[in-house]
C-alpha cells in the first residue's frame, strides 16, 4: 500500500538557521508533490508545488527538491524565523495517485530565538 513518511515528528532549530524537512514515499509514483503549512486550529495552507520533471523550486526563503529515484522531497526554509514555527505537510499527487490525496503526518517545526 502507499506510504508517506515525513522525518521526525518535531524539529527544533535556532533562528537564522536552515530548516530541512524530508518527505519520503513508497509504493507509488506521484506526478507532483505539494507542501503545506498548518497552524494550530487552522486548515493547511498551500506553499509550493514541484512536478516530477523539476529538480528544484524556490519561493522567497523556501526551496523544494524532488528526487523521483530516491522517492524523496526535501523542503528547506532558509534564515528561519520564529514565525515559521508550524506543522509542515507534504502531499504527493497525480500519477498513480490520481483521485486520491494522501498527506504525510507532518513535521512540527519550532524556531527559537
Amino acid at each position: 500500500s502507499q506510504k508517506i513518511e515525513q522525518n521526525s515528528e518535531a524539529l527544533n532549530i535556532q533562528e537564522g538557521k536552515t530548516a530541512t524537512l524530508t518527505c519520503n514515499y513508497t509504493n507509488y509514483s506521484p506526478a507532483y508533490l505539494q507542501w503545506y503549512r498548518q497552524d494550530p486550529g487552522r486548515g493547511p495552507v498551500f506553499l509550493l508545488l514541484i512536478r516530477e520533471n523539476e529538480k528544484e523550486k524556490r519561493k522567497e526563503r523556501l526551496k523544494v527538491t524532488f528526487d523521483t529515484t530516491l522517492k524523496q522531497s526535501l523542503f528547506h526554509i532558509t534564515a528561519s524565523q520564529p514565525a515559521d514555527s508550524a506543522t509542515y505537510l507534504c502531499l504527493p499527487g497525480g500519477g498513480s495517485t490520481l483521485g486520491r490525496l494522501y498527506f504525510g503526518r507532518g513535521t512540527q517545526l519550532t524556531v527559537w530565538p
Partner: protein, 113 residues
C-alpha cells in the same frame, strides 16, 4: 474573495447519532475534498468530488458518505457515530485540475461523547 467556509465550526454529538457537515468552496472551484484529522496526524483523505461526481474515496467505512450540489457546495454525512470519529473535519476546494493546490477551510471540530 471569500475562502472555503465550513459549518458548523464546532459540534458535539453522542454515539450512534448522525451528523452532517457542510462546505462552500471558493467561487469558481468545481472540486471539493474532505479530510479527517486527529491530533498529531496529517489530514486523512475521505472523499474527492468533481462536477458532482465522486472522483476518489479513501479508506473509510460506509458510514461516511458525501455529495456535491449543482452550486459545488458539499456535505459530508457520518452515520452511527463512534467515539473514534472525534476529529477535525477539513474541507478543501480546487479548480479540479489534478496538480492545482487545495484551498482549505478551518474545519469543523466534531466531538463524540
Amino acid at each position: 474573495d471569500a475562502g472555503v467556509t465550513q459549518s458548523p465550526t464546532h459540534l458535539i454529538k453522542t454515539r450512534g447519532q448522525h451528523v452532517t457537515l457542510r462546505c462552500s468552496p471558493i467561487s469558481g472551484h468545481k472540486s471539493v475534498s474532505w479530510y479527517q484529522q486527529v491530533l498529531g496526524q496529517g489530514p486523512q483523505f475521505i472523499f474527492q468530488y468533481y462536477e458532482k461526481e465522486e472522483r476518489g474515496r479513501g479508506n473509510f467505512p460506509d458510514r461516511f458518505s458525501a455529495r456535491q450540489f449543482p452550486n459545488y457546495s458539499s456535505e459530508l454525512n457520518v452515520n452511527a457515530l463512534l467515539l473514534g470519529d472525534s476529529a477535525l473535519y477539513l474541507c478543501a476546494s480546487s479548480s479540479g485540475q489534478d496538480h492545482q493546490p487545495q484551498h482549505f477551510g478551518d474545519g469543523t471540530r466534531l466531538s463524540i461523547l
